[in-house]
Amino acid sequence: MTVPALDLDLEVFSGPFDLLLALVLREEIDLLELELADVVLAYLDHLEGRGELDLETATEFIVLIAALLELKSRLMLADDDEELLDIEPGEAAEELLERMLQARRFRSASTYLQELFAREAGARFRIALPPAHLRKAMPAPADGSESPSVLGEAIGRLLRMPPTISLRHISVQRVTVAERLSHLRGLLRRGRFSFEEAVHGEDRMTVAVTVFALLELYKRGEAWWEQDESFGEIAVHPLAGTPLRAQAAAAAVAPQLQASAG
């Protein structure tokens, strides 16, 4: 099965992935209402079911989900939050923690409300109009009791343009494992190289896809790699290498990924 056919059963959508994408792009499904983590989980379930990793499909999925994630995070950030993109990792963690605590606070409060609601489940209220003769007793508001300025003010508020944010810089990037494979093979032909060299100046998406390409090269026995320390340089060697070591190194690529993307 390919990514487009990946079957999803989410709170706001049920169907294949490509239909979901189409609906998001046509704005028939609100991206903000979509729990992207559920999409990733569905994909992981699917991978687990297959028991093997199809690199082309994986690339496609990563590209699509990453684009959706970025778009969604842009939508969720208010103007004054744009500066958050440039703050230090420590500050970002504090900010994130604050938001997580707030979300958690209200999630707990919602559980409490659910309990209140359930406790009141047996109480119904009367919803009947008062008898006609009493309704007639209700006084009509006096002529001229409302001020026309209420209407002018309302129109003034409606004329205000909200602050705008630009989504122009977001475009779905098309980077494939095949491209990155040929890039890596080119570097390998010249011998040993560092992962940093391979992804220098590239965006996060390309870095992620390069990791997959590297894994593919390892699987095919074309390359192996090593890393002396966490966040250290990852050295990639052509061909012969000890599989065990390479496997350990595969896990170590990730921190580097973080370092090079940041």
Binding site: D30, L32, L75, M76, L77, A78, D79, D81, R124, R126, I127, A128, L129, P130, P131, L134, R135, A137, M138, P139, P141, D143, G144, S145, E146, S147, P148, S149, V150, L151, G152, E153, A154, I155, G156, R157, L158, L159, R160, M161, P162, P163, T164, I165, L167
Partner: protein
């Protein structure tokens, strides 16, 4: 007047008409009649209470006694083959005072916006109002219709119902005609704009709904 009656002879504890035995069925029937806006037949009550109709009839008799004059302000009435609760005539004056008290309830923010849009742009369709507000105006429009402040005025070329304000609206706002509506200029955040009011409202509404972080999404 209720004050005057407050000292009236109470119903004695001794010559109680029946022991205050109120079984579960009577309670259930009481609750159902309290909730239902229209009379219920014994059959309907029996079905809902999952009881025999004969038991329901007996429960209704007990209820009638419980709600006798001087024992309760609510009476059990038999109307059109069904039973319903109604207030007793002795409470009529108080009820009239309750409903005739002047109420502060003016226009809600949603109603004020909807009414302003109709007043300044009339005729205007409901979808257009929603586009300008950025959120649905359905319940506000329904309330304004009910209160007689707006009314339908034909259909748009796309078949949507159009609204305009009523004479009632003019009276409530003390206007002689729609041309007396205040000039928006004094509340206009961008007075130098040349475009038509309608066009500008739609543009701002779409911007609000269109995904700004502080838009409506």
């Amino acid at each position: 007047m209720s004050d005057a009656e407050a000292g009236d002879v109470p119903i004695g504890g001794e010559d109680q008409r029946a022991p205050e035995f109120v079984d579960a069925l009577v309670c259930t029937i009481e609750a159902l009649l309290f909730l239902a806006p229209d009379p219920l037949t014994p059959q309907e009550l029996a079905d809902a209470a999952a009881a025999d109709e004969a038991d329901v009839v007996a429960a209704l008799a007990a209820l009638a006694e419980r709600h006798a004059p001087d024992a309760s302000g609510i009476r059990l009435r038999e109307l059109a083959g069904g039973f319903t609760f109604a207030t007793g005539p002795e409470t009529e004056d108080a009820a009239k005072r309750l409903f005739s008290r002047p109420r502060a309830a003016t226009l809600t923010p949603a109603q004020a916006e909807t009414l302003a849009i109709v007043a300044y742009l009339q005729p205007v369709s409901r979808p257009e109002i929603t586009r300008i507000r950025g959120v649905s105006a359905d319940s506000a429009a329904s309330t304004l219709l009910e209160r007689g402040l707006i009314e339908e005025s034909g259909r748009s070329q796309f078949g949507a119902v159009m609204y305009r304000t009523t004479t009632q609206f003019l009276k409530l706002f003390g206007l002689n005609g729609i041309e007396e509506l205040p000039d928006v200029a004094q509340w206009d955040p961008t007075p130098e704009e040349q475009a038509q009011l309608r066009e500008r409202l739609l543009r701002a509404g779409e911007a609000r709904a269109g995904g700004g972080p502080d838009g409506e999404r």
